[in-house]
Amino acid sequence: MTATIETPSVAREQSQTSGLFDTGVGPDDGTAVSSSKPVWKHSTVVAGVPWKNPVGTASGTFNLEACGRFYDVSQLGAVSTKGVSPIPWEGNPTPRTAESPSGMVNAVGLQNPGVDHYLVDELPKLKALGATVVTNVAGHSDDDYAQVVEKLADSPADMLEINVSCPNVSHGGLSVGSDPLVLGHLIERLRKLTTKPMVVKLTPNVTDIVPIARAAVDAGADALSLINTLIGIRIDVETGNPIIANVTGGVSGPAIKPIAVAMVWKTRQALPDIPIIGIGGISSAEDALEHLYAGANAVEVGAAALLDPVAPLRIAEDLDALLDARPELAEKLRNGQTWR
């Protein structure tokens, strides 16, 4: 499958106007990376949506204004954008992040400018670049989700990704993603509001992911993405207090990879046919392969994309090469099938 070639003009413009001052940083000395006419040998398809390659970005770790300066974001399998809520959210107090061994803990609190801004700003820009867009949806109540999904129904987004890991008022502050009944109810409601491929993004903070996954699928999810972050706390041993202002945060990064792969595996064993996007601890093409061999159709790169903006594209390139030596896996992915 040949990728379309797009001039990243929007991203270009942005990088020059994004700051308060002229940073003097610009691609003006002929030293920066150039890529043109990339040809992806190994594509995939997720819930009927073609991805140029099996590697996307994970929500919250991609931002066009920031990342578009570093590479042609349309070359990714897909980009999952930051969770959008019905109105702008301020997020949590700072500090919002801390390091943990082979991982990071974050509690950004879904700060975002709201769905209306997203619809006039990031989404059209991404589509103009030719990106495959997965729009991540956040909400603090069932009504929140419904409002956002309704507004996105006629948008150019390629897929919706319902993040059911946020603490939810309709569900007494627990995440909707931790109760099969509550989740099924929400997804049924959202299903009626859109015909777009709907991915439900699951939380790993559950006793058994299988009944949750099944409830989402039974209620009309076209695909599942997993996992979101694990709940964690880092403590400052000088003060005895949590480093993150919100106390708890979400653990992501390499540390969580074996946990994520186990969840993909278990979900795949229970639900042989549902498309799965594997997420968690992917920072190399080999990590992506672990998810794919566990039964994922595609992957999303999270924390690693914060540590090197081009990481998702690099992983896509490396994976394209590794799949040459794995024709059986590549063939399955191309046809929307999976290894297990």
Partner: protein, 298 residues
């Protein structure tokens, strides 16, 4: 034999400078010069250690060779440094302290394990970097700059002095406060037009600033006119910068302040580093680290 090398987390890839135009995978790339419209900023890459020097107990100077950064770094910008210890994944943001040819200098204190590991680097080692990042100080061709720095806030002001030295009609006075040893006086003295410094046993930078005004006034009339030209660039601990902002406001002086924040990415993606401004929350890493006192509403 099975490969567990899936853990080669965060290896640095295509170094934009070192091998622009050669992707590690299948994406065919062309020489950057061929295709001006599709060029991008260099991403994370590895830079070579040119020198490591202890300036005083626990404070180090580290020089890295990185052509791109050296040629694009403005005063007040910073770079992400990454560790070889792949368990410590987050960037260590450090201000760019000076530039010479293709070499960029950082000055940092060992405050934790990451900076400790950086202090152990040896000449010839490679260190992953990303940058320059952020919006630096805004400098006009003319004017008189007071560079007010505290502790490990001095590095970006050293770079400011270096840039001001290159401007025609501008002058800089470094006003540095240290905890103990005056480790950067020599370094900034290479670039600044004059240097005042103080340590905790003697007082603080506000004392120095007051003294500077007194001295200026004692040189006779015309001071008021001269004061219109004065702009403060400041970086240091939060309480110091609050005091500097106050001091500047009382005298009607412009002031640009460089903030610190815990960062997840350093280039505007993760929204970890926000600070309140009069225009709402702004990202310190990309909207800052330099803000004016007015923007901050301090």
């Amino acid at each position: 034999m099975e490969t567990e090398n899936s853990q080669k987390a965060f290896r640095s890839t295509r170094t934009a400078l070192a091998d622009s135009g050669s992707g590690s995978g299948s994406v065919s790339t062309e020489g950057a010069s061929d295709c001006a419209r599709s060029r991008f900023l260099p991403s994370r890459r590895s830079a070579t250690v040119c020198s490591v020097e202890m300036l005083c107990d626990g404070v180090y100077s580290l020089e890295l060779s990185d052509r791109y950064m050296a040629h694009h770094a403005h005063a007040g910008q910073f770079a992400n440094l990454y560790l070889h210890d792949t368990a410590r994944i987050l960037p260590r943001p450090l201000g760019i302290a000076s530039v010479k040819g293709d070499v960029v200098r950082f000055i940092f204190a060992v405050v934790g394990e990451g900076t400790r590991q950086l202090s152990q680097a040896r000449i010839g080692d490679s260190i992953d970097v990303l940058g320059p990042l952020g919006n630096g100080f805004s400098l006009k061709k003319e004017g008189r700059y007071l560079l007010v720095g505290g502790g490990l806030g001095v590095p970006p002001l050293v770079r400011a002095a270096q840039e001001i030295r290159q401007l025609e009609g501008a002058l800089s006075t470094a006003v540095f406060g240290y905890r103990a040893e005056h480790f950067a006086d020599n370094i900034v003295g290479e670039f600044s037009d004059s240097t005042l410094s103080i340590d905790e046993s003697e007082g603080n930078v506000i004392n120095l600033l007051n003294k500077w005004v007194e001295d200026a006034e004692s040189t006779g009339p015309g001071v008021r006119a001269a004061m219109d030209d004065v702009e403060i660039l400041s970086c240091g601990p939060h309480p110091m910068m609050m005091a500097v902002a106050q001091w500047a406001k009382e005298r009607g002086l412009r002031a640009q302040l460089s903030l610190e924040a815990r960062m997840g990415c350093g280039f505007g993606t993760c929204v970890a580093c926000v600070t309140p401004t009069r225009d709402g929350l702004k990202k310190v890493c990309i909207d800052g680290p330099v803000f004016t006192v007015e923007q901050l509403g301090w």
